[in-house]
Amino acid sequence: MAAGVAAWLPFARAAAIGWMPVANCPMPLAPTEKNKRQDELIILNVSGRRFQTWRTTLERYPDTLLGSTEKEFFFNEDTKEYFFDRDPEVFRCILNFYRTGKLHYPRYECISAYDEELAFYGILPEIIGDCCYEEYKDRKRENAERLMDDNDSENNQEGSMPSLSFRQTMWRAFENPHTSTLALVFYYVTGFFIAVSVITNVVETVPCGTVPGNKELPCGERYAVAFFCLDTACVMIFTVEYLLRLFAAPSRYRFIRSVMSIIDVVAIMPYYIGLVMTNNEDVSGAFVTLRVFRVFRIFKFSRHSQGLRILGYTLKSCASELGFLLFSLTMAIIIFATVMFYAEKGSSASKFTSIPASFWYTIVTMTTLGYGDMVPKTIAGKIFGSICSLSGVLVIALPVPVIVSNFSRIYHQNQRADKRRAQKKARLARIRVAKTGSSNAYLHSKRNGLLNEALELTGSTEEEQHMTKGTSLIESQHHHLLHCLEKTTGLSYLVDDPLLSVRASTIKNHEFIDEQMFEQNCMESSMQNYPSSRSPSLSSHHGLTTSCCSRRNKKTTHLPNSSVPATRLRSMQELSTIHIQCSEQPSLTTSRSSLNMKSDDGLRPNCKAAQITTAIISIPTPPALTPEGESRPTPGSPGHSTNIPTTTTTTTANIVKVSAL
């Protein structure tokens, strides 16, 4: 029953008076309305915009948020209204649904935002009225396609990280030539050879020069050996390529059935067949025909050109239109051929000898070619001929725009996909930075927590204030949660960014030192979680100094150059080593060589004016960007990288490093 008609229920009940006198048995009791309250206005405050409606309007749909008691959760006692912190624009549509019983989808609204709002209010999208349903479904499908696209490309990119088998890398190289230089080289080489092969085929038939006897020979016969060699070379390359693809294909059966592989096979078959067949007179005719298939090599270019692939895809998707075109043309040809044949039957020496012979005339006329080799001579023939040419234009012109529009749509879709992929790279990079920023924020704050404890020891309080400001309550609570998890499991978090960890690891190896007063307070008694080879740990291992340091930093060679974008600065700065140093800090340097710079501050552990700084391990921190009150970073103690393993344990560096891990 439609909601709006619920208002007419009293009328329907009243109309039941007509049944009472004729009823034979007594009527059941009527339901009583407990605490029958007057219909009241409800105020719905959606992000500041107030909507008002009757309570009964909302109660028409009791299985939605607004119609059920669920809305009581949003009731604000002070203002006596229901407050929803949602989009007021979409709420308009939702409220109209209660009022009119029809849910509309506004075109300007984003489909996923709209879906979210519907889900929040407990309304199923299927109720959308007919007027807007098509639009809604279209947009939803588009969005789903886009998501799928994104997922696909994401999978492609993510696949680069885990190690692939040799076969898989090869397949990837074949499919996406841009993944590695070898693949690119292969791509261009095959392209070149396809071109060579096609040109050879063409040039073979050009007559060049004469042979005594006044016979013009085509080049193919004149320089038979040269051409044969060229052909052989090309076929070798193609064969090798095909076999490699076959080997690398994840599903060989599917690969064999695919169009491209069929083209490949057809391109190289003639050569092998030619090798096998003898120079027999009988079969040489067939052999010559077979050479025609060599021209299929030109289709191999479609791997190299996306436009060609789109064209092929368009033709495939317009199969029905093309079929219709063909069918209507055939019908018209037969009709007109018949008519022309009978019209021209009378005239003498007519070329229209039979209906099939007239087919040629009809086709030539309908496609407005008009060769003129067959021409009607009778008047009737001429009349019908003109009708034929006029109708030909129509029949051909009709399905063509459909095909064109299909092509345009697919082409633009492809372009959009490419653009999205390019944008996605930039977006992903930014997202990654943000993510590491947040995880590093945790480590940073943990360090601050430790620092605070340490500061209590050293007795300087103004640094403490510097450290603790800047984290909101939510952040600090979140960090506390993570810290609790660490304590529970006995493990601790690592920095997730390989880049950072690489940098840090160079320092780490040079680090260690003696923990001194921090040992008691800040020691993470937990076991360090030794990282995978990808992200070496930043940990300072108090007791594990030796094992840690014995690990060579194999990744020194992979250190990226020190020009790091500004966005990474904060994350860099939050690397977890803390330096306590006394007195002045060395100046910041922005070169990699500073890693090797030995800090020449003497360490006086019990110096009162100890300043606790967070180390900036990544050197490229321009001074202007150091955050609030953090002292200049010390590029730290790292001694000379070459001597580390031996000197670490003995080096009493000037800096006590405590890593928060």
């Binding site: 208002a7 007419w8 009293p10 008076i17 007509g18 009472m20 006198p21 007594p26 009527m27 009527a30």
Partner: protein, 247 residues
Amino acid sequence: LPGNPPVQTKKALKQRFLKLLPCCRPKSIPSLSESKTVLASAALSSPGFLADSVEDEFELSTVCHRPEGLDQLQEQTKFTRKELQVLYRGFKNECPSGIVNEENFKQIYSQFFPQGDSSTYASFLFNAFDTDHDGSVSFEDFVSGLSTILRGTIDDRLNWAFNLYDLNKDGCITKEEMLDIMKSIYDMMGKYTYPAMREEAPREHVENFFQKMDRNKDGVVTIEEFLESCQKDENIMRSMQLFDSVI
């Protein structure tokens, strides 16, 4: 002719002609003297060719009817102000133009009986509500009918029921009229009932009814017979009291 837009249809031409003659105004405006009637599209002379036939229908359908003031309705019926407001809101929601015609009425009523066919009974109801027999039920008709049924005395209600049964409004119910009514009531149940409806059920029911009601066995039931018999029947009296609590 090729190239020219299609000319107005013959019907439209005729109507335009007739409109010029005052005596032949189309009876699209309900003759409710006391109410204000507003023609939403007042354009009788329409500019375009095509617009004409469409606009004529347009004019008919955009007749807007406004009921009398709330105070007058309050006097005429036994509803309170608030109740009238609620009723009018519901009424206006389904019928924005302010009046219900038979089609609409049937459609609204059928929403309450999804399984059966309630159109016949709805048309009887329509005739009962449409007290001035002008083919449409305005809000006043609607509310006065409801007032009688829901707020009237038992006698009022019985009277109203009699009026409903008396299809030709001649003051007595014949067996055929009753049979029609009975069939329409049974129709509302639909095909899928338990026990399955038999063909003769309505007729038997009518016989039963007449036996009970028809005192002088003259084949028709007059209003006095009806009232008398109903007042003697316990069940009917009790069921009449159901209507007290509807609104």
